[in-house]
């Protein structure tokens, strides 16, 4: 017994100093701390540290990148930004949340703001802005979706993959041809790999191209009203079309796994996904031959939409904000933009770079050009965008699962959204 006592005492005494010790002290270089939750883009994140070393030679400030899990990042950001002293100097998030709902962003210096306003594609100019002032630098083309088609499946269905469908009606006809049903009428091969799982915000994101193609919009142009827009006749028609894909035409199936897996498994012949997707396909489903084309249009064209515009923001209460803006200036040029995005294999942001050799060699070059020619679709950069998109998404999911008809579901969602807006 006594030996046990001494043993445990010894253990405690040996462990205590380790535990009470402060975090390993770093050498006295000045560091700008950058927080991001983009764990799927390590090369992109590393770029800040690499360039940070160049920046240190000029100014003595290095850059340290901290990756945060996406799951739970909002809680971590909020705690740190409220807490001030443990907060990052620069962080990646949505402008209308951290600058609109909260006051955690420092306003961008005028000449830097002008540089970005002049060099972004027109649909992205609003990204990073709140009430007309620029706070954030957009870092990617958000969730601007394009159509990926499985070339082999299209050819097998008698469709020509080189003559992409341009209208929603043609698109639906193609989807029907691509769908294979079994003896029980269940879908074994879906024409369209549709997103029906996960958080309602994601569901809204995937439905919006259809809504915009029908000429509908989720909120009024001044973002202050939902009724009359989220439940407009056009929106009801759009949701009816979407619901019919699953319930009536069976070109999409709720029994299928995530759309990416379905496409990778050659069970879904078409998918609407963003520019990062072809990297995923090349890695996870190398035997799928695919092509990227612009989204089909209905009454209007979906255009390059953007529900989650990720931007780099500077913390308002950071003691190092001058240095932070210096660093932002340092990397705000066409070459850095191209290098950084090329390292990760995603689309660069500067308009000039969209004609670079790197982009021209990508499978989505032509489709990107086509999509960017379309008019800018509605934007929903409102502080309550998460809650609004959730209410809306719940209506969409309910329709997909046949839990109701589009009109009453959308009426209910619009009423809920208005309650949220007025709150």
């Amino acid at each position: 017994m006594r030996r046990l006592t001494w043993c445990s005492l010894a253990l405690v005494l040996s462990v205590a100093p380790l535990v009470l010790a402060p975090a390993p002290s770093t050498p006295q270089t000045k560091k700008l701390v950058y927080w991001t939750h983009w764990e799927q883009n390590p090369e992109f994140n590393k770029f800040y540290e690499t360039r940070g070393k160049d920046f240190a030679q000029k100014t003595g400030w290095e850059v340290q990148v901290v990756t945060v899990p996406y799951q739970g990042y909002e809680a971590k950001y909020l705690a740190a930004l409220v807490g001030k002293s443990g907060a990052p100097d620069i962080y990646m998030g949505m402008t209308h949340h951290w600058c609109g709902q909260y006051d955690f962003c420092d306003r961008m210096p005028a000449e830097l703001a002008k540089t970005w306003d002049e060099n972004l594609p027109k649909y992205m100019v609003g990204v990073g802005k709140w009430k007309g002032a620029r706070y954030g630098i957009p870092i990617e083309h958000g969730n601007f979706q394009q159509m990926y088609i499985n070339v082999d499946l299209w050819k097998k269905a008698g469709l020509d993959p080189d003559k992409p469908v341009k209208t929603l009606d043609d698109w639906l006809a193609a989807m029907k041809k691509l769908t294979v049903l079994d003896a029980k009428g269940e879908t074994t091969q879906a024409g369209f790999a549709l997103r029906h799982k996960g958080h309602p915000v994601g569901i809204t994101d995937k439905f919006l191209p259809f809504a915009h193609a029908f000429g509908a919009r989720m909120l009024s142009p001044n973002l202050e009203q939902a009724t009359g827009f989220a439940n407009s006749a056009d929106m009801v028609a759009a949701l009816q079309f979407y619901q019919d894909l699953v319930q009536k035409h069976k070109v999409a199936s709720l029994a299928f796994p995530t759309p990416e897996d379905a496409f990778g498994q050659k069970r879904g012949a078409t998918i609407f996904r963003e520019s990062w997707f072809f990297g995923w396909v090349k890695k996870n489903a190398p035997d799928v031959t695919f092509k990227v084309v612009a989204l089909p249009c209905g009454k209007a064209c979906p255009g390059a939409g953007n529900l989650f515009p990720w931007t780099n923001l500077v913390y308002k209460n950071s003691p190092n904000k001058q240095a932070a803006w210096e660093f932002m200036r340092f990397i705000s040029n066409a070459k850095d933009d191209l290098d950084q995005h090329q390292a990760q294999g995603i689309l660069p942001v500067w308009t000039a770079n969209l004609e670079s050799g790197y982009v021209k060699a990508r499978p989505d070059y032509q489709s990107t050009q086509d999509m960017l020619k379309q008019p800018v679709p509605p934007e929903y950069y409102h502080p309550k965008s998460n809650e609004l998109a959730t209410a809306f998404g719940e209506a969409v999911v309910a329709a997909l699962y046949g839990k109701g008809q589009p009109k009453p579901l959308l009426d209910e969602a619009a009423a809920k959204m208005d309650r949220v807006l007025k709150d």
């Binding site: 380790l18 799927q40 390590p42 001030k84 443990g86």
Partner: protein, 274 residues
């Protein structure tokens, strides 16, 4: 022999249940040896193409300083388990065998902590930890994990059934309260103590939300954060997640097997058994 047959049936049912419960782990281990195309292959294939395929494990260590994560988790879980056992058994004894005024209220106050959703106290707690300068330190990660409510509960329930006669006898013999605790009470609840060590160790080992909020540096991250880094906004890298999960279970399993032997031995050796 009817009893013998019943015995056999019971054994078979228990074994079958154990295999069913174990199966997802088997599945996880198998997946960790597969490449991504193999994982997505249909029809399903249970066994990997190459049994010695350690590519996923290699990639886990390449992408993250996973060894450091294991060390951090081990340190934090050990301290948490030890401190919990000490404080919880003291408190459990106090609640089980003493009727001081307000003991019921105190007990329910402690159990009430469990009823508070952690998500609602995380920001205030973080702000306090920040004020104390403990963000991104071991002490900061340990702050909410030093004592276990479950431990107090378990110790109380276990000590309650210790016959009070033994304690009274020791008191009559002139032993101090602490002495009674150490010499009479603790030895009779060794299985519960071992259980608490295991449970608290594992619970702290598998914590995600608090380390997520309080840790910034890659060198201070714990195993759960490493595991979650193989999932992101768009997709889940099952091959790496399963490899990381297997790596994270191995040390915990070792602790469990050691402590489990102690439970069994403690029962055999303990003087209070019939």
């Amino acid at each position: 022999m009817k009893a013998g047959r019943l015995h056999w049936v019971v054994g078979a049912v228990v074994a079958a249940g154990a295999v069913c419960v174990f199966f997802p782990f088997f599945w996880m281990a198998m997946t960790s040896f597969k490449t991504v195309p193999e994982i997505q292959r249909v029809p399903l294939q249970i066994f990997p193409d190459r049994w010695g395929n350690l590519d996923n494990y290699r990639e886990v260590f390449q992408r993250q300083p996973f060894a450091r994560f294991l060390l951090n988790s081990a340190l934090i879980a050990t301290v948490s388990a030890l401190s919990s056992v000490v404080v919880s058994s003291l408190a459990g004894y106090g609640f089980a065998k003493f009727r001081f005024p307000g003991h019921a209220v105190c007990f329910f106050a402690i159990v009430g902590i469990l009823m508070v959703p952690f998500q609602s106290v995380v920001v205030p707690l973080y702000l306090w930890v920040n004020r104390l300068g403990l963000v991104d330190t071991y002490a900061g990660i340990l702050a909410p994990d030093l004592v276990s409510v479950f431990g107090v509960f378990l110790m109380r329930q276990s000590i309650e059934v210790v016959p009070t006669d033994y304690i009274d006898a020791a008191r009559i013999d002139g032993a101090s309260e602490l002495g009674i605790f150490w010499r009479v009470v603790l030895p009779s609840v060794r299985p519960a103590l071992a259980t608490l060590v295991i449970v608290k160790f594992m619970w702290t080992w598998n914590e995600l939300f608090w380390p997520l909020v309080v840790v910034n540096s890659p060198t201070m991250k714990v195993v759960t954060l490493g595991l979650v880094s193989f999932t992101n906004m768009y997709f889940i890298e099952y091959n790496l997640v399963t490899a990381a999960a297997v790596l994270s279970i191995a040390p915990v399993l070792a602790v469990f097997l050691v402590c489990q032997k102690w439970i069994v031995r403690a029962v055999v050796l303990s003087g209070l058994r019939g």
